[in-house]
Symmetry: C2
Amino acid sequence: MQPSTATNLWFYPCYRRSPFFAATQKAGCQGYDIYNHMLLPGGYADAETEYWHLVRDVTLWDVSVERQVEITGPDAFRFTNLLTPRDLTQCGVWQCKYVVLTAADGGIVNDPVLARIGENHFWLALANSDALLWAKGVAINAGMDVEICEPDVSPLQVQGPKSKQVVQALFGEKVLALKYYDCMSADLDGIPVVVTRTGWTGEVGYEIYLRDGSRGEALWDRIMEAGQPHNIKVIAPSEIRRIEAGILNYGHDMTLDNNPYEVGLGWLVDLDQEADFVGKKALKKIKAEGPKRKLVGIEIHGGPLDCWPEAYWPVSSNGNQVGHVTSAAYSPGLKKNIGYALVPIECAGLDTRLTLETPDGKADATVVRKPFVDPKKGIPKS
Amino acid sequence: MQPSTATNLWFYPCYRRSPFFAATQKAGCQGYDIYNHMLLPGGYADAETEYWHLVRDVTLWDVSVERQVEITGPDAFRFTNLLTPRDLTQCGVWQCKYVVLTAADGGIVNDPVLARIGENHFWLALANSDALLWAKGVAINAGMDVEICEPDVSPLQVQGPKSKQVVQALFGEKVLALKYYDCMSADLDGIPVVVTRTGWTGEVGYEIYLRDGSRGEALWDRIMEAGQPHNIKVIAPSEIRRIEAGILNYGHDMTLDNNPYEVGLGWLVDLDQEADFVGKKALKKIKAEGPKRKLVGIEIHGGPLDCWPEAYWPVSSNGNQVGHVTSAAYSPGLKKNIGYALVPIECAGLDTRLTLETPDGKADATVVRKPFVDPKKGIPKS
């Protein structure tokens, strides 16, 4: 399976390179996405080969494009809680939380992983939008004493069932004590990092946030060395595996035009907390009225999809166009085509039949439960 | 001359397509840039061929990536003036202004063309950053009654010495009355547009802002038809011609880390106006102290450059690295290599000698005046 049709992308200074760029070239990266104004590796081998490596062994990804918004200063806690509907009194130091940032109308500005690495020291590891500008804008008249910047921090992901052994070899026993969404500071022979028990897969995984861009090659080589006995391979973020796991991709499955309730992220909105946050009033109203549309899981019938959607596929119900497919892929583990569609609430019920317009013609689909893979069971490994 | 090395870019839904996308494919677009989360045509023929077409005849560009921030509501004038250091009391209805948006520290958030198409109706035609998020963020606690959105507006550029004849054929005599940076509303057999006497070249040119995305193909075809007698060709934005003209490219020649004074845009900052704007205090201080570095014009000695920089080229003075080249190209009109470098103020004087590290080895350069081409004289046409 190929991702989609390719065109040419010319390298320019405006596409920033990660501290691992040279390593990704050496590893045979075949193309890049542009994400947060940076080059994001898009693939080294075909997507299915990369997928099996991820679910069977262990993989290394350059995700430096997850730029950080760093918030510090005496009011950092209060300000960060103003940016997100999640109740941050529930987030201790050295914990992470998956959060959304919402606009005044409840629209999703970004869906970062938040890491609290000090009482008043927060990182937001961004999805693909300039949420640094958003945060700086909100701060203008907020009357709070905060510093907001993009620090020299570049994450890698180490994902797959054997990732535990790799991080143990690098950081020792203490890293195994990290619970899901915990994080810790570490020093790898002078390379400063933060390690988090997070990732963009349903597999066991870690992220290693490099805190000194000049040490990219050294960190990369250390990880590859530690991973060698475990058959580590360099891959791109796995579109297939993240869909199986029910994970959303900002810019595809949700945008500023979507609120958390309609894309299944209502659990990130704590309306009952005392603190005010941007979008609280709008989200209260949306919740009370119920969302008008919903991002649903779909199973697409017919043979394996050749490639992922290059643009949104129109979705029809009873002959009327009602929505669009936001993501879709053939799952080699589940041996079927899965994806997401944004449809009116009337078409969102389980077992609803939908018709898709794909580049290869019409296809039938059925609304199904997501995630597609139970995180506790995982997927069949063959 | 080729732009630079190419890699693969896979098409995805997150890269939005313009209303003219199909037309750009039909016109033989060979690659795309990603700009404001959209596909921006990067080239149809080699850069030199496109350049000569632009300076001799007339050209059509899909620049729908110039997304608009639309600001309306009772306080739209006051709010827009809060976003930019330019004194907007000097901007009448149906006038445009080139502006910068600045952050609290004076850093440049974006450098849009502002169009005032009503007393309290503004468009900001964005360069490559999510300034919609910035504007929405600033509005949160500004206490002003405004609506901020991205409207269904997609600009095209019609640029080149024969562009006057093309827009005259489309819109009649009245369009010829437009002075530089004026704009007007028009209707082309039911296709709603705004026409501005602006462009990203030193040539005569216009922008046609389509106000109904469903009419992209119709508008494109009408322009191509009107341009046929004048030898119109579809090209990408001309890197060469904009450098000759002294025009800056956001993300290359300036970023959030630069203030207007150091990149030669101090003339966009009206510190003496009564209105407050974001960054006023910081910019007053920067102006009083004088900028610490400067974006200078450079002439690069030696044979014609093969391609444009793929990443910033380091710049040295007396053996010490002091800055970097942000843009460079061989100008076929001037028959020399020209570009910009960001250097400390001590190295910014005319005739300063600099050493560049290019992928082909060291190159000598000299600081020269910009723009490289006098807008009144234009460039030799052969």
